[in-house]
Symmetry: C2
Subunit: 455 residues, 2 copies
């Protein structure tokens, strides 16, 4: 596992990208407009100097928001884009024909604002479900955001803030690496918090291989790179990166109507283009994986009410589907998640969840243990990792590990849970959150103030 | 829907049954023994004067407790029993060969205590997972419980209390009806609280038709009847009754290692035996359905931290599997359950859960609405029911119903949620609980006191 050098600036770090984030009162709080009025920004623009190749991954929820439909269509049809417009405060989901017309107006208004050809813009939305978009505010916001565009870290900060909903902090990363002698950068921003268990595919359609129930936040992520890369090659890399990052996280097991990851690659790093069998692809893939996984983990750490983050590793399943099913059952069990919150090394609840999962398991073969979060160096070898595990259960039976020792293992804010099914060679990992009173309190909302009731 | 006359006495109401519940310190709190020492009773006996036919339904969790294994084996092999021994405080799950030997000792010790032939006893356990049974206490408890046996409502109360874990109150019912000119009675007790989404089958094996994820408390229920009924006919009736009651409830979506329903029928009502094509069977089935459903609903109402109980009705699905999958996705969604707790009529979260469920759905066809809990008379006609619904969404679009009206519809402690998929004729119902801070607080446990950390 290569460790990449992190640099500041997230989405504006790669050459030729500019960003902005403004307040245009999308929730119609009526508390004044303008990004300098102390209101939370709610509209972002990300713009490339030159047309970029593009790849996307989208929610497989059958109830899918209008902006997702527009992006699925455009990424497939054009494979290129130059600007992304994103709003928070309104998901434009379950808004029928009007919603679809509004999403189309968002992209075409943005294209006209920049005098870009039709097909140059993509769109993302997050917020309440079932409320029609305030298009006057949106149009005013797009114009203001276009004026505010720039390429300082502050501009990236503003864009990252503008896409937040219940997030407590913005989520950004950028890295730099060498590709074919050229310096290439990848930067990204994302948002999450609740309704988080993404299950995305490139077309929004469910692949047959995706397990039932393994599909579930609104999470949005926008990634920029100055790499020169063909759209199809970029999509291949994004499929793989999302499969090992955003599609492996869960806060509450609910999959949103709006989950979207978009990557824009404008080629300004001037590397030679590469195919999927090349050494360059392998390097680019590793870099994109790193960006996607770090962003995905930031979403879990900042999930609604989250106190602890647990990496659930299931090893030794008969099939990948079994490994995934067991990991998701544990990662989404209300009883397991509340025990993590309480710092309770309750293996009974864990083996219970494994047992009711669709995975084929044999009680007498199951091992359950804990370790500190794997540092990159330590993660190099699976056997080295196994050596550092404090086992609570071996072959279905409690080990001599004491309750005090086990409590210490689950006390850190982040730890790893290792489950060996000892039935085969297939593995899966989930990055999961605990379930806290704060999550419940936040999500029960306040019916005296409907604006707090999120979609 | 026939309304049955309820009578007192639960499991001792049918002729020839006696019961008891005593304290034998199964959690080894060391705070003194004896049922009259003010401690919570933790061991129950249910005994029939004469050998009874028996039927059972058991958890389909692949991690399955020793008492479940014993019962699956005995119900199949003998189809008859005369005594059931049940303990709380220890689930005897994940206890390996010792656990299985202990469960066998529980039945054989009980048989010897009554001088019953081998194969006459059944056993149930609930409580912590992974702790070996305190057999000295168990044996002492069985002897004391045998001495305490009686057939007053107080005896039934003691047995119902002895099987409780996190339950706040005991759960009992008995009804009386005429069968072939004879007065027949069915009585039952149960316990639930957490780890509640049973998915039981007669053999503990998963039927192919049972949907993935549709399998999940420890719930125990023991039902007695003085009906004369063949064991196979009784099992047929129990399969049907459980399918529409215990297997349709969820508190937290976690299926236990110990879920068990047992019915003992001793024939002392002296009705003529009947086959499954007879009018008598239909009547017996309706009566057993009533007992099972009323007990199942008591479990949801008394679930850990539960404030609101919601009947989720999915109608118009293409297949039963789809109807079931959509109902379970909604009933187990953390975001939907927290909105119920908050009294928030948030249809966005509901349609989101429907959309990510494995069920085939079309956003533009989905209706979502609310009604008061159907009274038996009102429930007679599906069309009458539909008339009383306040719709929040019709064909995927918000109705003119006001936020205030919708808030009023979800304010009661119990209400019905109606989802019409408008794609076919298949229906499913789930009896679900909200998700509250109290649930989280209870289940995060107290690691300074390991005896509070339930399995």
């Amino acid at each position: 596992m290569k460790v990449f050098k992190e640099i500041p600036g997230s989405i504006i770090a790669p050459k030729g990208f500019r960003a902005s984030g403004v307040f245009c009162d999308i929730k119609k709080l009526g508390t004044g407009k303008g990004s300098n009025k102390g209101q939370k920004r709610d509209l972002a623009l990300i713009v490339s100097e030159t047309p970029a190749t593009v790849a996307g991954m989208f929610t497989t929820n059958q109830v899918c928001a209008a902006p997702v439909k527009i992006c699925v269509e455009r990424v497939k049809k054009f494979g290129r884009a130059q600007v992304v417009v994103v709003n928070s405060g309104n998901a434009n989901a379950c808004t029928g024909k009007q919603g679809l017309a509004d999403a189309r107006e968002m992209v075409s208004f943005t294209e006209r604002a920049f005098n870009f050809p039709a097909g140059s813009a993509l769109v993302g939305s997050t917020g309440r479900i079932g409320v029609t978009m305030p298009m006057d505010n949106i149009r005013a916001g797009i114009i203001e955001a276009a004026i505010e565009l720039g390429s300082t870290t502050e501009h990236a900060d503003h864009a990252a803030e503008a896409i937040m909903t219940s997030d407590s902090r913005s989520k950004q990363i950028a890295i730099e690496f060498k590709l074919g002698g050229k310096t290439v950068r990848i930067g990204g921003i994302c948002k999450g918090a609740g309704m988080i268990q993404p299950g995305m595919s490139a077309t929004g359609a469910r692949p047959a291989a995706l397990p039932h129930g393994g599909l579930h936040a609104t999470m949005l992520s926008f990634i920029t790179t100055d790499a020169a890369i063909d759209a199809k090659v970029l999509q291949t890399a994004l499929n793989e990166a999302v499969a090992h990052s955003f599609n492996r996280i869960t806060v509450d097991g609910d999959m949103s109507t709006n989950d979207t990851v978009l990557v824009l690659a404008n080629g300004l790093a001037e590397n030679s283009e590469f195919g999927i069998r090349s050494a360059e692809f392998k390097k680019f893939q590793a870099a994109l994986n790193h960006v996607a996984l770090e962003l995905a983990k930031k979403i879990v750490r900042d999930g609604e009410g989250v106190h602890r983050v647990v990496t659930v590793r299931v090893n030794g399943a008969k099939t990948i589907q079994d490994a995934d099913a067991a990991a998701r059952a544990v990662a989404n069990s209300a009883l397991v998640k509340t025990s993590w919150h309480g710092g309770d090394p309750n293996w009974g609840r864990i083996i219970d969840a494994i047992g009711y999962s669709p995975a084929k398991v044999v009680e007498e073969k199951i091992d359950i243990g804990y370790s500190a979060v794997a540092e990159p160096a330590f993660a190099k070898s699976a056997s080295a990792r196994q050596e550092k595990i404090l086992w609570s259960l071996k072959r279905g039976q409690p080990t001599p590990a004491t309750f005090k020792e086990l409590c210490a293992a689950v006390a850190p804010k982040e730890f790893e849970l290792h489950i060996n099914l000892n039935l085969g060679q297939a593995n899966a990992v989930m990055y999961a959150a605990d379930l806290t009173e704060a999550y419940v309190d936040y999500n029960k909302g306040d019916v005296t103030d409907p604006t707090t009731l999120g979609g």
